[in-house]
């Protein structure tokens, strides 16, 4: 190390990037979110070629690479296929710790939906059945969080 390097005290500068975003959901996603908000329904759609039913719905099937047009209404209930109870706090968390993330395979869907489970965490295990808990209509915004969380049934 050079002698001047030994004498210099390293400084820091603080900063933050402030770039606002407004993401277009697209028509497919909008239909899904509007159904959550206005009808308390969970919609999925099915690829006619491979038969995969997706939730959230997709404009194209990623496997077959063809457009998907067949919409289905899914059950509000499903099975937990994977979960984790989150214990360490982090500012972007939507709930107080401890809460759980879960991948939930809704009845009628072939893929899992990632969402939250807040209550009865001691009962939580893979294979357990859960049901969506919707927010009050006044609080629904057209967002996946219009489902507040899933409850163990």
């Amino acid at each position: 190390m050079n002698s001047w390097e030994k004498e210099v005290v390293p400084l820091t500068m603080k900063g933050q990037i402030a770039v606002p975003y407004t993401w277009w959901v697209g028509e497919t996603g909008s239909r899904f979110l509007l159904a959550l908000r206005d009808e308390e329904k969970i919609l999925g759609n099915r690829c006619e070629r491979c038969g995969t039913t997706y939730v959230p719905p997709r404009k194209n099937c990623g496997l077959c690479f063809v457009p998907i047009d067949h919409w289905v209404e899914l059950s509000k209930e499903g099975v937990v296929t994977s979960h984790t109870i989150v214990r360490q706090k982090f500012q972007l968390q939507p709930a107080n710790t401890p809460f759980a993330y879960a991948i939930i395979c809704l009845d009628g869907a072939d893929v899992g939906l990632v969402h939250l489970i807040k209550d009865n965490l001691e009962k939580l295990k893979n294979g357990i059945r859960v049901r969506a808990r919707f927010k009050e209509k006044a609080f629904r915004k057209g967002d996946l969080r219009d489902i507040d969380c899933f409850d163990i049934i």
Partner: protein, 380 residues
Amino acid sequence: MDKIAIIGVAQTRYERRKKDKTYYDLVYEMTRDALVDAGLQISDIDNVVTISNDFMDGRTISSMAVGDAAGAYDKNISTVEGDGTFGAFYGAMRVLSGFKNTLVVAHAKGSEGDNKIITNGMFDPIYQRHLGLESISSSALQANAYMDRYHISEEDIALVSVKNHANAKNNPLAQMPMSLTVDDVMRSNKIADPLKLLDCSPISDGAAAIIIAAEDQVEKAKKKPIWIKGVAHCSDNYFLGDRDLADPRALRKAAKKAYAMAGITKPMEEIDVVELYDAFTYMEPLWLEGLDFCDPGTGIELLKNGVTTMNGPLPVNPSGGVLSAHVVHVAGLARIIESVLQLRGEAGDRQVNGAKTALAHGINGPCGQSHCVWVMSNQK
């Protein structure tokens, strides 16, 4: 595939926070050190691939910061934003396409940003991001799926932490050499079940560089060239719910391709040392299964039976692995570099004796969505 080799390597010491150097300082030093290692001048380098991440650096066009530092003035240059194994893959393709000596250099300073916010950014802004997912909680979902299916316990995966932090004691560059017991791991702070603090890799600052040369350039190299025998990468679906998180099928596909290129039919017998991307303890056994070293669900048996320890027939992560030093995007390049050092016989206290063929592995995207596999040998 034409014969190409790695002829120069350099890596910084990995630390929680490098207070005295900016990341472009680190890139300059690694460029310089890799050249020294290769016995080359900057004028011998005809093209450069830098590796950086705009979110980590807090800069759009993060590559802009390091062009000068990587000696790229008046040279062909490109930038891969992804793990070092992928950036090095692009570097290899450029050599195969006619460049003579490609410099690949990666950097990141985990200390300068908020890792959780940055990794939250890899989640879909419409359907996942506002759930607050980040790398640890999402990986916990994978750990849960994997461990539940195959009845692997938290004590089992804790063994990986014990092994790798102990291995790190032999690596002067590692950030976290530690003597741990399973009990230490089990008692560490719970973050997201089943992951505890000591199941997770640290946040790190660092940089690394390699020089890949065409066959006719190799004679200039100061040290034994390490030949690239097979390289491949593959990505699974993106949405976590679309994937079977306990089945590393993208890794399996990439490994199969890399092995075929390298002429490997029995990985367990033909590979002498493995440096894989263990960002979390559960990943080591899971990736060993994807790499076809053992059947699904049995990865942890390899450790319990002593196969993957330093004294075993297939040492895994003699460097201490990503669990002991995790510079985002650099860590995959570090796996390649550690393999090179092993095959040159320069790995000091962490040397696996007589290693001839090594495997290096890197991942990209949430829960190891995309994998890159490198097979290298010191035999031409």
